[in-house]
């Protein structure tokens, strides 16, 4: 393999985008959870919700910062590494990203300041509103990114004039059916991520026998929400499969591990695809099921990879395995959420530790599922940058040197590893320290020039005897 500027740019983009997506998928879920907590606190007045809110806000603070700064990198990489793509598809992708930065980025960044520092300066209603604005901002952000990415997956509403992609129908671009299955898929994935992280935290505290009140709320709300959302996600995921089948047949064949046209088609459950021989080495498959899943019929003809010229095929192994890992995580999450919820509903005692351990250990599942989902979608799109319209090889910056990308890749890798390690450590410390008694809200007169009011607050006390700190 030749380490060209193209390949290095692809590695760099894959690396930076994979790093980035961990954080929004977490913060979108947590922002919604914070909004729920703040609303519950306003309605019920129970202090446990306030304590949970303050606790999760700190975690949100650390992860939100990481999401923002890693997102800025992506906004620049379009022009830096993919200047041909920016130039020729800029009239379409540019405005979509402009909408993202205006409706989402600006909104969440501004109101996040209020969330962190403004509790004593605004009324409870305005504070709740600010929480909602942050949650709304994260959702808008996901929406526009999914519109943009969906256009790259299934381009519509454009004409090519002098090599430039000119938008002809914005409605078709934004209301593309592809957007409206992919955006919900991403959004539900984010909510599931939030739900499992919250439930896992609750389970962890229960296992250690601390923060009983908070742990109970977290475990219940997390598992119940996940139990409701998982079937929705499986259904939406199936709809995603339909769009891939109809619009990206080569990607579909790669995901299915299907090398040759079949009628009726069987479904490959697990295999080791081999590109050199264009066959699967070890294979476990079920006859007819392939046709049923793809076309809802028992005898449909399904396309294999060899129907496409070799230069038009995506690499097979990554989408093939990534897809199976994603689905596997989904099924595990469903089993856990359903069994756990039933168990909680009937208040059983035996087997409790087993459930708690399983829930505690489940927190990586949604992250793995989201990442592998992205790998499936993005690697499966290759060798196209804009599916069927612009090759990745024609999208890269023509003047980019191998040295320049190597340098940038190393710098990004070092910086990301450093901030990710420390970020994880600090989140872990916050989780370990647990929720503390909320500080009283001191009304401040913003006009009064005083320097140390906030600094004199009584030291926060832990809610439970024997807790760490």
């Amino acid at each position: 393999m030749m380490w060209t500027a193209l390949l290095l740019s692809r590695v760099q983009f894959a690396f930076t985008v994979s790093f980035h997506i961990i954080f929004p998928s977490f913060t979108i879920g947590v922002a919604a959870w914070l909004t729920m907590l703040e609303a519950f606190h306003l309605i019920s007045g129970k202090p446990v919700y306030r304590r949970l809110f303050d606790f999760w806000l700190k975690i949100f603070g650390v992860t939100f910062g990481l999401g923002v700064v890693s997102g800025i990198v992506l906004a620049f990489e379009f022009g830096m590494n993919w200047s041909r793509l920016s130039e020729v598809t800029g009239p379409i992708q540019g405005p979509l990203l402009t909408y993202e930065s205006f409706t989402a980025f600006a909104l969440e960044a501004s109101f996040f300041g209020v969330l962190l520092f403004g509790r004593s300066r605004v009324t409870p209603a305005v504070y709740l509103l600010s929480t909602m604005m942050v949650a709304l901002g994260t959702t808008f952000s996901a929406f526009w990114i999914m519109v943009n990415n969906s256009w790259m997956q299934a381009p519509v509403g454009y004409a090519v004039e002098n090599g430039i992609f000119v938008p002809t129908n914005w409605k078709a671009i934004i209301f593309s059916p592809v957007v409206w299955v992919r955006f919900p898929h991403m959004l539900v994935a984010a909510y599931l991520t939030g739900a499992f992280c919250v439930a896992a935290t609750g389970a962890w505290y229960m296992l250690r026998g601390i923060y009983a009140a908070e742990a109970r709320v977290m475990l219940r709300m997390g598992l119940f929400l996940a139990a409701l959302l998982i079937p929705v996600q499986l259904f939406v995921g199936h709809l995603n499969g339909d769009y891939v089948h109809d619009r990206q047949p080569a990607k579909f064949a790669a995901i299915e591990g299907r090398w040759h046209d079949e009628q009726p088609a069987s479904e490959v459950l697990i295999a080791i695809p081999d590109e050199s021989t264009e066959t699967n080495r070890i294979e476990l498959k079920i006859p007819y099921l392939g046709s049923l899943i793809a076309s809802m019929r028992l005898d449909s003809k399904e396309v294999g990879l060899t129907s496409f010229a070799p230069q038009d095929r995506p690499p097979v192994a990554i989408p093939f395995f990534a897809f199976r890992i994603m689905v596997g995580c989904g099924l595990l999450m469903m089993a856990l959420a359903w069994l756990g919820s039933l168990y909680l509903l009937f208040e059983r005692k035996p087997g409790q530790r087993l459930l708690l351990w399983a829930t505690f250990l489940s927190f990586p599942l949604p992250f793995v599922a989201t990442l592998t989902g992205w790998f499936t979608a993005e690697v499966g799109r290759q060798p196209w940058s804009v599916y069927g319209a612009l090759r990745t090889a024609d999208a890269v910056t023509p003047t980019l040197s191998v040295q320049a990308v190597t340098v940038s890749l190393i710098i990004f890798a070092v910086v990301y590893v450093v901030i990710f390690s420390f970020g994880t450590l600090y989140v872990y410390r916050l989780l370990k320290a647990g929720p503390v008694e909320s500080k009283p809200i001191l009304p401040l007169n913003p006009k009064r020039p005083l320097g140390v009011i906030g600094g004199d607050n009584p030291v926060a006390k832990t809610t439970q005897e024997g807790a760490l700190l």
């Binding site: 990481l66 022009g79 830096m80 800029g90 009239p91 405005p95 403004g118």
Partner: protein, 326 residues
Amino acid sequence: MILFWAGLLAVTTSLYVLLDGFDLGVGILFAFADEPNRRKMLSAISPVWDGNETWLVLTGTILFGAFPAAYAALLSTFYLALVLMLCALILRGVAFEFRYKARGFRWFWDLGFAGGSLVATFVQGMTIGALVEGLPMENGHYVGGALGWLSPFAVLCGVGLVLGYSLLGAGWLVRKCEDPIRAFAYRMLPILTVGVLVFLACAFVASLVMHLELMQRWLERPYLLVFPLVGAVATWGLLRSVKQRDDFGPFRFSALIFMAAFGTLAVSFWPFMIPFVLTVEQAASPPSSLAFMFWGAGLFVMPLTLIYTTMVYRLFRGKVVEVHYD
């Protein structure tokens, strides 16, 4: 429509320069302070820095959406510089949260914060300098090599912007902080003002010596001198407000100096987006893109963004109360 977006781009760019300018400046001055003054300096920008930095993203995406050719050309030209700036902004951005969570590593995040602010500012100044000097382009791509734009003049402009942002930062500190930070900032203000003036003089002489094409435009259109004139008046006002210890004056006047400098650059570039290579007209997106952006983002979201930015600034007005951290 092209004019509208070029105008809006100018607005978001200048808002970025003013807003992130002062918090980057505070970041540079942060190096000279000690705990607990560092905490107070951070408190002066903590609630708003995130929103400020957003204007960089807004500027970037407007450039992408409305002028994709310029976006592609500029970002690919300054590839390594931007990598450096992004990493500086990353380290600086996470330092806000991380320094309070760190036990033994606070020095690292403090270094990241001050160093990140310095590097990001320096890189921004260098790119402006390289643009003023002019870039060799063929078919919309820079042909000068990965570091070809790196020249003494670009470095000079990098230093100039460091001084300039520090000036804005000092102005912000006297407005938001009390003694001893306020006193420190008042000591720095005259020094920084003189520094900026010396830089401007050097840049002017250098432009004359190098026969920059840009200077030609000034000789052709002497009425443009109104911008430097505004700058000169603002400098006088700045020094006066420092003398009178008027806490609100320094930031306002240094912002005015920046606006004058920005206006100077903008009119000397016009109608070029990348001087003498790519005009605003040539870089613009097709009308269907510009209209789509106008009817939503331009007409509704932009004013809304300005409104809530103002609201957030009003909310956190007055001298800082130290932010409490666990």
